[in-house]
Amino acid sequence: MNCLEFRRAAGADPEHLSPDAVAHRDGCPQCAQFLQTVRLMDATILKALQIPAGDRVAWTPAAPPRVGAAVQASLGNRNRWYALAASIAGGVAIGALLWVSGSRDALARDAVAHLAHEPKAMVATQVPADAAQVTAVLAKDGIRLRSDPGLVTYVMSCPFRGHQVPHLVVQTSEGPVTVLVLREEKVSRARKFHEQGYAGTIEPSGPGSIAVIGGTDEQVKEAAARIDSALEWK
């Protein structure tokens, strides 16, 4: 691979370089610098794309999605509109109540539910993730590694509760743990949870928290301590 080919590849998909591209980057400081520039620009692109998404009130089958203005214009029946408004009000009230009373448990549930979207998330393997990708995903969130968090075998920037968050899988002697780095989720103290057969903990870390999910309390406690000490937040 030459510099031109590398820059085309890196300019199209900077987080997924082929082995040839990685080899070229490692031997070409200019292209390594170019890649760094592209990744920095991508971090800005991501911030730019993350426009405010409005309220976070959930809808339920009992209170289906609010029909928007464009569709409302076609609804000539006033009674239908009132019924719709009533269902929205009910949904908002129920959603707000659930949100207030169960936000902390909801965080644990959401963290476990997130595993469902990442089929590679709990695979036991000894194949490390691309170190540059680990660095880049954490850097997007203003984090760098100051010590070894363990063998990272999976890394992705994932949508979670309205934000892109680093999602790592770290191998331990007892198998893999999934780690979500949650800058926007503040907790005052560590809290263990058990959801759907998983053990987990959500612990304060930096300005936010980390959620660590694995097989046993001991495993996640040990992994969480190691990972927390490895993260340097900016």
Partner: protein
Amino acid sequence: MNAPLAGKDGETAFTRLCEELRPDLFRFAFWLARDRQVAEDVVQEALLRAWRSRESLGETGSAKQWLLTIVRREHARLYERKRFETVPVDDLVSGESPELAAAEEREVLDMRRAIFALDTDYREPLVMQVLLGFSTDEIARELGLTQGAVLTRLFRARQRLRRDLGVTGAAEDDAS
């Protein structure tokens, strides 16, 4: 671990799924339509359609791509119905000033404006890749393109942004 979407448990799973994915679905719709109100309508309609046909999904594992496809189709349907007039990009940019002014950093604001002005052919795969984390293969399948075509569009999207933002020393631009 994929939660089934049938039955009572499925309703709960589907609701959670919507809570989690809705912000990004909205953002995707916004960057397709470049209009907050239209994006809200598109997502509301898409979620309603998704709810009605949730059992066809079967499990939550592939839900993100499934919902994204519904949002894209709903956006296309809305445009077919409404037949919006063509609006110059500069008018769009000024019309969306609340969104474009929301960024706290100048750099982010400039980038937002530059993305806003990108052609849809470049903007859409870029949003899918950077915001939603889709692979180029997944984007190709969603857009009905070859992976090579997607890579070219992504390269040109970033190239266009660099030019619009006046990034100097971009020797890679010669690669196009």
